[in-house]
């Protein structure tokens, strides 16, 4: 049976058709298909864009610190605020969530990697290609300036005649491909590759939230893909999808954008909800309160999130009946979110809480997201929103939920999982400085924006006149923004110093946090092969239940040490998927195609060549490296897809040679 499924391969493979072998150095990182390295790549890239987006934010705040500011002219300001939004949403929060999802999801379900490792690498490189492409606009001089939401007709050729909005549309198309590929990959991974005994309802909440997010991406990204194609066609090929002078309805753009855009905000927040659902129980020393409700509320948010998009359009003129319907649906989506807040508080209640850095960040999420959620409820009332929308009150709201919710959650994740990823802890002392600086700075920056908005300060204005009462809080907010910057700097210092210190300190050892889920079975940092053997899962929080039982009084007693429960990472002969050159080659072709669409179609040619070459090479490269380890196979039931593509069961595979000369 395997013979008929083999491809005819050349007797001596050409150089490009071997699988790369590097496992150190930059070649390793460029050709890796290991989900852990890909997670680290996502995280590192996203942090670079976080700095860029943060500088953009500081420029905004400098401009707005005083009335009639002159730091940035109106044109530059419009580009900076556009890129700040695009960068933070698409190039920071989403890839940071992807970093955690990529690193942890296979570990949390007890798998060796994701279902399609090369596609996983492709997702990262395509994301990076799109992110770089978008930011090339700074150098090439035409930076997008239509706002991150890019409303038509302002972004059409008549009103945005430069190339900026083409960079926007193509850049986001490229990153959208990455999200879609990743969504399919992770869904298949969760559905097919869980450890034996791990039913869906024994998965950690983090894995559940990531799963919901992948479904949201799967259905939402195509909508913005359509919208961006329509915009590109309007701008470049003379179509009139959004041209009211030719009879189009400009609100079409808003509908398409927000049908994507609203699920997008749940895409931004749910991973952080998942992260803190792991952190809070660990440091409260109690299980998560109401696991089924936490899972179902996440699923509910996933469904309900599709029915609220026009709350971004309450004053756009869609008609009172539509507005009423969306107003009511928006009010009700507060319910599953409120359930989560209460469940986290109930988890902490009665606990014995260690307020270390990850717990501080997680607790910060609960508090800050509450504020953001409450202001969101106030906007859900359509009449109130006619005063609030498009003002700084909305800016306050979404920064509380995205920064206070998503970003603080991500930082909780950094501090929590750093030992798992890198084998050493981040300094808790510096971490606390990191947290407090960020928290104080953040509240100083965005708290007053509630006031500014209610006092009538519009959004997206490059300056304001004196005499409107906006001066004090704008200056206050600017100071707060620089305190945030100090907090971020503290994090970077922490990363560097902790790495240096770790070189002459003993490694962190097993299970530093006395945690609950499967990823902590492995040594720290995670060995490249993840697990030595499959883990038979019998309960939610399986790792915890192997370490702890109950005595006759129902009290928790330790029944096994970490050394006894954890694996030792010795199965280094595990058959792993081999690295590949082709994902990065394919991704590299995309910016050329994009630049070609913008400047001259001839540039599309090298891009197309790279893409086609990569697809061809990908299809024909050997299924793995013949010199790689083939010794150790997981003791599984045999229905797990064997990643070398031969379709063979593990027993058969041991006997055969890989099909290369």
């Amino acid at each position: 049976m395997t013979d008929t499924m083999e491809l005819e391969a050349p007797a001596r493979p050409l150089g490009a058709y071997t699988r790369p072998k590097a496992n150190t150095g930059w070649r390793d990182w460029v050709t890796t298909i290991d989900h852990k390295k890909i997670g680290i790549l996502y995280g590192a890239a996203a942090m670079v864009f976080f700095i860029i987006g943060g500088i953009e934010a500081l420029l905004i705040r400098l401009q707005l610190a005083t009335p009639d500011g002159t730091v940035l002219g109106a044109d530059t300001y419009n580009r900076v605020f556009t890129m700040h939004g695009v960068t933070m949403v698409f190039l920071v929060i989403m890839p940071l969530a992807a970093a955690f999802a990529n690193y942890l999801l296979p570990l949390q379900i007890g798998a060796r990697d994701v279902a399609f490792p090369r596609l996983n690498a492709l997702s990262f490189w395509i994301f990076l290609a799109g992110a770089v492409f978008l930011n090339m606009s700074w150098i090439l001089g035409d930076v997008p300036d239509g706002g991150w939401f890019a409303y038509a007709p302002n972004t059409g050729m008549v009103f945005s005649p430069g190339k900026g909005m083409d960079f926007y549309a193509i850049g986001l198309q490229i990153t959208g491909i990455a999200s879609l590929i990743s969504a399919m990959n992770l869904i298949v991974t969760v559905l097919n590759m869980r450890a034996p005994g791990m039913t869906l309802f024994k998965m950690p909440v983090f894995t559940w939230m990531i799963l919901v997010v992948q479904f949201l991406l799967l259905f939402a990204v195509p909508v913005i893909t359509v919208a961006l194609f329509l915009l590109l066609f309007d701008r470049n090929f003379g179509s009139n999808f959004f041209n009211p002078e030719m009879g189009a309805d400009p609100l079409l753009w808003q509908h398409l954008f927000w049908i994507f855009g609203h699920p997008e905000v749940y895409i931004l927040i749910l991973p952080s909800f998942g992260i803190i659902s792991e952190v809070i129980p660990t440091f409260s020393r109690k299980p998560l309160f109401g696991y089924p409700f936490m899972v179902f509320s996440g699923i509910a948010i996933g469904f309900m999130g599709w029915g609220v998009w026009a709350h971004h359009m309450f004053v756009s003129g869609i008609g009172p009946i539509s507005v009423a319907a969306f107003s009511v649906s928006t009010m009700f989506i507060a319910v599953p979110t409120g359930v989560k807040i209460l469940n986290w508080l109930a988890t902490m209640w009665g606990g014995r809480i260690w307020f270390n850095t990850p717990m501080l960040f997680a607790s910060g999420v609960v508090s800050m997201f509450t504020i953001g959620g409450l202001s969101g409820v106030t906007h859900s009332l359509a009449p109130a929103d006619t005063q609030q929308t498009d003002t700084y009150y909305i800016v306050a709201h979404f920064h509380y939920v995205i920064f206070g919710g998503a970003l603080l959650g991500i930082f909780a994740g950094f501090y929590f999982w750093w030992p798992k990823v890198f084998g050493h802890l981040l300094s808790d002392k510096l971490g606390k400085w990191n947290f407090w600086l960020m928290l104080v700075g953040f509240n100083m920056t965005f708290g007053p924006m509630h006031i500014l908005g209610l006092q009538g300060m519009s959004r997206r204005i490059d300056s304001y006149s004196p005499g409107f009462g906006f001066e004090f809080w704008n200056m206050f907010a600017t100071i707060g923004a620089f305190i945030i910057a100090l907090g971020v700097l503290t994090f970077i210092v922490n990363v560097v110093m902790s790495a240096r210190r770790a070189r002459h300190e003993p490694p962190v050892g097993l299970d530093p946090w006395d945690a609950r889920s499967l990823e902590w079975f492995t040594p720290n940092p995670t060995p490249v092969h993840n697990f030595d053997d499959d883990i038979q899962v019998e309960a939610l929080d399986e790792f915890w239940h192997r370490k702890y039982g109950e005595d006759e009084n129902g009290k928790v007693v330790r029944v096994a040490s970490a050394e006894e429960v954890c694996q030792d990472g010795s199965a280094t002969d595990t058959h792993l998927p081999s690295p590949s050159y082709w994902p990065v080659v394919l991704a590299a072709g995309l910016p050329f195609v994009g630049l070609g669409l913008i400047y001259t179609l001839w540039l599309c040619v090298p891009g197309a060549v790279l893409i086609l070459m990569a697809i061809y090479g990908w299809s024909f490269e050997p299924v793995d490296d013949p010199d790689g380890p083939h010794g150790h196979h997981h003791d599984h039931g045999g229905d797990e897809p064997v990643d070398d593509g031969s379709g063979a069961t593990p027993a058969e595979e041991t006997a055969e040679e890989a099909p290369v000369g």
Binding site: G73, D75, G146, P153, V158, F159, P244, E245, L251, R285, K286, F289, G290, V315, S316, G317, P320, V328, A334, V335, P336, G338, L342, L345, A346, R352, F355, S363, G364, V366, S367, T370, I371, V377, T378, L381, A382, P383, A384, T386, Q387, T389, T391, W433, W436, L439, M444, P448, I451, L454, G456, M457, S458, R459, R460, I461, P466, G467, G469, K555
Partner: protein, 399 residues
């Protein structure tokens, strides 16, 4: 140690409490939404105030619980025992799912009722003398946004039969003015809001919420003031380069004053009799008339403006307004004299005063007038319309 002194809950509570408390302090905040000055904005406020209160109560509960958690359940290292491993409580969780849902449902009822009221019209006709003839006017004003100013058109025979489908070619109106919309107090005034180019948003916070101006769509809205005065506004949908500089004001007058205003606005421009003004008029006809209209001078020949939006502010009664250039510059000093330096600067080099895309036909270009010509044009402009009252001028002053 920092963690002992500053607790996240208290810190954020302080910050947020301060926000809520201070948001009531609105001394010199002309765009303040929390100080409604008309019946419509008051009705919105009467819905949002209780909601802010409910939100504040929930906030206090959540932060209170957080504070208790901090003080009561933090590990003080007095024991190594594990707390009770509670996995959940079905009844409690159902309770705090259904409870908030019920609260939201109740809020929804009030919100929906208020919303439909806000979107309904309850206008009564206003008696206006138009050219001496008493007319029953169903008060609706056509509000047109374009980059980066607002136009207001009055049709005293009502809007039935007025074709607004092509905003760049609107039917001739009885009064066409810009930047400042004048309304009589005590009446609900309908607004038909549209745009000639991109999406803008019309907002006079003291009097009502906002409504977007969408090209080729006419959105019904309304406004009402019960106290005479000048109410500030700001375009509130990002519309490009000078979005921040696209402002407007609503001037509310007692009905008798409104009638006087209508009478003056309906007169065409007077012939200038001073030489400078006459020279200025010639410059106007040679240069400015490419875009601007003065009734009695080029209103019958003008086909619009040499701009993408096909319109520029009608200048017939420029002097009766207290702001210009999209409502951002004061036309008068606080003593009622003309604010010459700013007006001259505008005529000298408009793009230097307000960013625009003159070469893309969106915004007033630098016309290249000599200083003498500028003086002449100012002299001519001063003949266009009558100076408003000092209290309106004073109300406009925002530095």
């Amino acid at each position: 140690m920092i963690t002992k002194r500053l607790h996240p809950g208290w810190l954020a509570a302080l910050a947020s409490g301060a926000v809520l408390a201070l948001s009531g302090c609105a001394s010199d905040a002309p765009l303040d939404t929390l100080e409604p000055q008309g019946p419509i904005s008051r009705s919105i406020d009467s819905l949002s105030d209780p909601i802010f209160l409910v939100a504040g109560i929930v906030f206090v509960i959540i932060f209170g619980a957080t504070a208790v958690i901090w003080f009561k359940f933090r590990d003080d290292h007095s024991t190594d025992e594990f707390p009770e491993q509670i996995h959940g409580n079905f009844r409690v969780e159902i309770g705090w799912t259904i409870g908030p849902a019920v609260i939201m449902a109740v809020i929804a009822v009030f919100a929906v009722i208020s919303h439909f009221e806000l979107n309904s019209s309850d206008r009564t006709d206003i008696q206006v003398a138009v050219d001496g003839t008493a007319t029953s006017w169903d008060p609706e004003i056509v509000v047109v946004g374009q980059q980066w100013w607002w136009e207001f058109r009055y049709y005293f025979d009502g809007l039935d039969g007025v074709d607004l489908s092509d905003p760049r070619n609107l039917p001739p109106a009885d009064i066409v003015t810009a930047n400042q919309m004048v309304i009589p107090t005590g009446s609900e005034i309908g607004l038909s809001i549209t745009s000639r180019d991109v999406i803008h948003s019309f907002w006079i916070p003291a009097l009502n919420g906002k409504r977007d101006a969408v090209p080729r769509r006419v959105s019904p809205w309304k406004i009402e003031a019960d106290v005479p005065g000048l109410y500030f506004g700001q375009c509130t949908e990002f519309c490009g380069l000078s979005h921040s500089r696209m402002r407007m004001q609503t001037v509310a007058m007692e009905p008798a004053d409104f009638q006087a205003w209508v009478d003056r606005q309906m007169r065409p421009a007077v012939e200038p009799n001073r030489a400078a003004a006459q020279r200025g008029r010639e410059i106007f006809e040679g240069q400015c008339a490419r875009c601007h209209v003065v009734n009695g001078v080029n209103d019958d020949t003008s086909r619009g403006a040499d701009l993408v939006a096909n319109a520029a502010p009608n200048l017939t009664h420029l002097m009766s307004r207290t702001t210009y250039a999209g409502g951002i510059f004061n036309l008068y000093e606080s003593d009622g004299t003309l604010n010459r330096p700013q007006l001259e600067a505008w005529l000298r080099n408009a793009p230097a005063e307000k960013p625009a895309y003159a070469e893309g036909r969106r915004g007033m270009p630098a016309i290249g007038l000599s200083e003498g010509q500028i003086d002449d044009v100012v002299a001519y402009l001063q003949t266009l319309g009558e100076t408003p009252t000092l209290d309106i001028i004073a109300a406009t002053e925002v530095e």
